[in-house]
């Protein structure tokens, strides 16, 4: 693929009668190696690129994408986008961006690609060894991996917009299998980094082992409504599952109860929710969004008060406001959606121990499973298989498994009694979600 193909596509679109057209191109290269018993067990090298076209034809936005980036592929792309435009009935205007705003482009420095495949494999082998040495109950290690990826994207349209960006990221993860009598337990820990200097494989291995070991001897607990400390990593998962309610598209379609709630209290006063593409602790932000609009930091909830939905150009135009720079297009094949960048709850003052003391008798939730089924992003209801630790008299006393935690996300935001100081970001994807541990009232636990 060369740059000329993007120009060629826009030319072909104009000739085919498109009033406006936009090309979006992404390319990614990735590497991943898993080791077992000191040798490479699984090894992947990947390269993928693709190009999409969206354009106004008869006032309607047609869309198509392809991985066949050649003359025939492009002709097919233009024809398909035109056919799709003819099907659209929705009359909302979908403006393209002219690129007249200014972006804060950080200078890009790749601190990921310098290591050779062998150096990365050696790190994975060392990580496995540390995990096995960390505790005698470690039976073996499965899924001990190191990965790296680099990405490039370019957006160009007939209004004069032409922007490009590059990124790179590394991942390390390990999941030890731990023997507990006749049963097996699995622990895990993952780390994302933008510089190999930030990777300490011994620390990743030891955290994974202590994660698994901490649940030895776990059992269920009595059902009931008790104070719940949601640990930072799990609270970040909740935020990710329900992030859609903050989208202006969801609100416009009647799928979010936040519609029209700007300026009113929707959470406890200790809750401030930020979307910051430039957050230094997370890796998902970029200088411009999926429509080329400059990205910026904004408070979505400030001291419990709802400030703004997240907008792309189409829904901003419909609501008569400016785009918040939240058009999302993780790959060339994605249609434009709305998503946060680095989305997190601002940390408070309380240590985790203080949250336990304030909870008195309750439970700390450290994992939720099956969020794609047990959580409904439209109603906000959730009922999720969980595990964690029993809290008695303000202290953690034993691990807990085979329980569910149930509630409603809108009510959860209102029920936050205290916010911890331990901000943590989950693994980055198209978005990053982060949170400190929080103490919440009003959730139900099902157990024995």
């Amino acid at each position: 693929m060369n740059e000329r193909m993007i120009d060629r596509l826009l030319e072909m679109a104009k000739r085919a009668g498109f009033e406006q057209a936009e090309a979006y191109y992404t390319r990614g290269e990735s590497f991943q190696a898993s080791v077992q018993e000191g040798a490479v067990e699984d090894y992947r090298v990947e390269s993928q690129q693709g190009l999409s076209l969206r354009g106004l034809y008869g006032g309607k936005m047609g869309y198509a994408s392809t991985e066949a980036v050649d003359e025939d592929g492009l002709e097919e792309l233009v024809r398909a986008a035109k056919e799709n435009a003819a099907l659209i009935q929705n009359e909302d205007e979908t403006p393209l961006h002219d690129g007249s705003d200014t972006i804060e482009q950080k200078p890009y420095e790749d601190k990921i690609s310098a290591l050779s495949a062998k150096e990365k494999i050696d790190l994975a082998i060392a990580m496995e060894k540390y995990a096995k040495e960390a505790d005698e109950r470690v039976l073996r290690v499965h899924g001990c991996m190191i990965g790296t990826e680099t990405s490039y994207r370019r957006i160009r349209n007939t209004l004069g917009l032409d922007r490009e960006s590059s990124g790179s990221l590394g991942f390390a993860g390990v999941s030890p299998i731990i023997r507990n009598g006749d049963n097996m337990l699995s622990g895990r820990h993952f780390l994302a980094f933008d510089d190999f200097a930030k990777l300490d494989v011994k620390d990743v291995a030891e955290q994974a082992v202590s994660d698994g070991i901490s649940y030895i001897g776990a059992s269920s607990m009595p059902s009931g409504a008790v104070p719940v400390v949601i640990r930072n990593d799990t609270m970040a998962v909740f935020l990710g599952v329900f992030a859609g309610i903050f989208s202006a598209a969801s609100a416009d379609r009647g799928l979010s109860l936040l519609k029209g709630k700007e300026g009113t209290a929707v959470a406890a006063p200790c809750v401030t929710l930020l979307d910051d593409p430039f957050c230094k602790d997370a890796y998902s932000g970029a200088a411009f969004d999926g429509e080329g609009v400059a990205a910026r930091c904004k408070a979505v909830i400030e001291d419990g008060v709802f400030r703004t939905l997240l907008y792309d150009l189409k829904y901003a135009h419909k609501a008569g406001v400016a785009s918040t720079g939240n058009a999302s297009r993780p790959s060339y094949a994605s249609t434009v959606g709305i998503a946060p960048s680095n989305f997190y709850i601002r940390p408070g003052e309380n240590s985790r121990e203080e949250l336990f003391r304030m909870a008195g008798n309750g439970v700390m939730i450290t994992d939720v499973m099956g969020t794609h089924a047990g959580a409904n992003p439209v109603s906000g209801d959730f009922s999720l298989a969980s595990k964690g630790f029993l809290i008695q008299n303000g202290k953690v006393v034993r691990p807990v498994e085979q329980i569910t935690v149930a509630g409603n996300f809108y009510k959860l935001l209102e029920g936050v009694r205290a916010v911890g100081s331990d901000l943590y970001f989950g693994l980055p994807g198209a978005c990053s979600f982060g949170a400190p541990s929080v103490l919440v009232d009003g959730l139900s636990i099902a157990g024995k």
């Binding site: 699984d42 090298v45 690129q49 869309y63 929705n90 097996m184 699995s186 085979q402 139900s444």
Partner: protein, 459 residues
């Protein structure tokens, strides 16, 4: 698709550093999606994926590389990258390929791409209208069509060179019922390994009405109580309990490395004697079926459990090597960007002999789970969970009132022993199953069953 000369050259390059098996998976897929929202076409998109994945084994080690640079140089570079990871030197091999086309047992009459978009949009608008007509409490409806035409070619160093085509269609309707302070949803989403004729055979009004009925029922439901209780799970998508509680743990992906609770249990009882279960990739036109798997092997019907005794795992080529057992035609992948591993096709609990009404009448107090959501499992510990979209409390053997927000959790190897009734009529439903090799279409199924005791998550 690749010609024999180029394919043999690429395989030769792949094996040039000591690998003992190499495979090329080439794919060219066209997909189309149409979304109707607020009773008008909101979105229409088309996508084409075209790429090649190359896999090499050396003993039990495997390397996977993929690219969508399909020129001769791009393919040879991809093969060389993969080969460099497997070793340093090896002998050149003479590879002879025999071309074949997989016999097609899933005939297609109407390719989805050949059907006018307006006809598809009309079908979606019909479901939209039926849902809205059901109740004024239905405030929003979204419906969608997705069609996919996947052409694959699998070539390996044992001489296989086989081609197959898979045509999928699916429609989905989701209704949202609202009271002002609350939203609840209901949905229906049938699909098949068939052409557009499948959509033309659907009762679209019933689908729209059904989605609306679920949403409105749940809007007026109380919260489900929490605790342990007997549960009757309906046929169709209820089969997700077997898929999560047992199916994933019978995949060689988990078994081969000793990471499943069912390792070493072949020939031993693992479930109540009333439980028999099958995974079948050969059922004509079914959502989870295939002519051949993504490693080129014909799919099979496998009896997983017979009268409570474990009789088969689901095995792919690489894990078969690890286990010393042949592939069961279970190697699947989402697309060329994933290496294949063992996955389910159409997996179901077989028909039993119990009366569907009796099992509710004699259950005392408990839960009737009539529509299930999806779920997940940790195969190492067997801990599973799944959501219940529509449920009713049972009081003294009678269905009492709707409840919402229920989920069911447990450990697979324990719950299989607690099944005490299996009904007479098995049906299946469609899902997308996510695992290491991506998201693949699978059917789940069962007759109505009863579990004597299970933890119900509620409020």
């Amino acid at each position: 698709m690749l010609n024999n000369t180029l394919a043999a050259e690429v395989l030769g390059k792949a094996l040039s550093t000591g690998g003992d098996f190499a495979e090329i998976f080439a794919e060219d897929t066209t997909s189309q999606g149409i979304v109707v929202l607020s009773s008008q076409v909101e979105n229409a998109s088309t996508g084409r994926q075209r790429g090649v994945g190359i896999r090499i084994y050396k003993g039990l080690n495997s390397v996977y590389a993929y690219t969508n640079d399909l020129g001769r140089e791009g393919l040879l570079r991809c093969a060389a990258d993969a080969a460099a990871a497997i070793g340093e030197k090896g002998e050149s091999r003479d590879i002879r390929l025999t071309r074949s086309i997989a016999p097609n047992i899933h005939p297609v009459r109407l390719l989805p791409g050949d059907v006018d978009g307006k006809r598809k949009a009309a079908a979606l608008l019909q479901m939209d209208k039926a849902a809205r007509d059901y109740s004024p409490e239905v405030v929003q409806v979204s419906s969608s069509f997705s069609g996919k035409w996947q052409r694959v070619q699998i070539i390996n160093s044992e001489g296989l060179n086989v081609q197959d085509e898979r045509v999928y269609v699916r429609v989905r309707v989701q209704a949202i019922a609202a009271s002002g302070a609350e939203n609840q949803t209901g949905s229906r989403s049938p699909g098949a390994l068939q052409g557009y004729e499948f959509v033309e055979g659907l009762d679209l009004d019933a689908l729209g009405r059904g989605a609306a009925q679920s949403a409105v029922t749940m809007l007026h439901a109380e919260n489900c109580p929490a605790g342990q209780m007997p549960v009757v799970i309906d046929d169709g998508f209820g089969g997700v309990i077997f898929h999560e509680a047992c199916g994933h743990s019978l995949e060689a992906t988990s078994v081969a490395k000793g990471n499943s609770v069912f390792c070493g249990k072949l020939g031993k009882p693992i479930a109540a004697p009333c439980v028999s279960a099958v995974d079948d990739g050969t059922m004509p036109g079914e959502w989870g079926s295939l002519n051949i798997d993504d490693e080129g092997n014909p799919t099979q019907r496998k009896q997983l459990i017979k009268d409570g005794v474990l009789t088969s795992y689901m095995i792919d080529r690489l894990n078969g090597r690890r286990m010393g057992m042949p592939s069961t035609g279970s190697g699947r992948r989402q697309d060329y960007s994933y290496a294949p591993t063992s996955r389910m096709n159409n997996t179901f609990i077989c028909e039993g002999s119990d009366d569907e009404e009796e099992m509710i009448r004699t259950m005392g107090d408990g839960l009737y789970a009539c529509r299930m959501g999806g779920g997940s499992v940790n195969p190492v510990t067997g801990e599973f969970n799944f959501g219940v979209d529509e449920a009713y409390l049972v009081r003294d053997g009678r269905i009492d009132r709707p409840v919402r927000g229920a989920s069911l959790i447990g450990k697979g190897h324990e719950i299989l022993w607690n099944i005490d009734r299996v009904g007479r009529r098995m049906t299946m439903a469609q899902g997308m199953c996510g695992s290491m090799s991506g998201s693949v279409p699978t059917n789940v199924g069962q007759p109505r069953i009863r579990v004597s005791q299970i933890t119900v998550g509620g409020r």
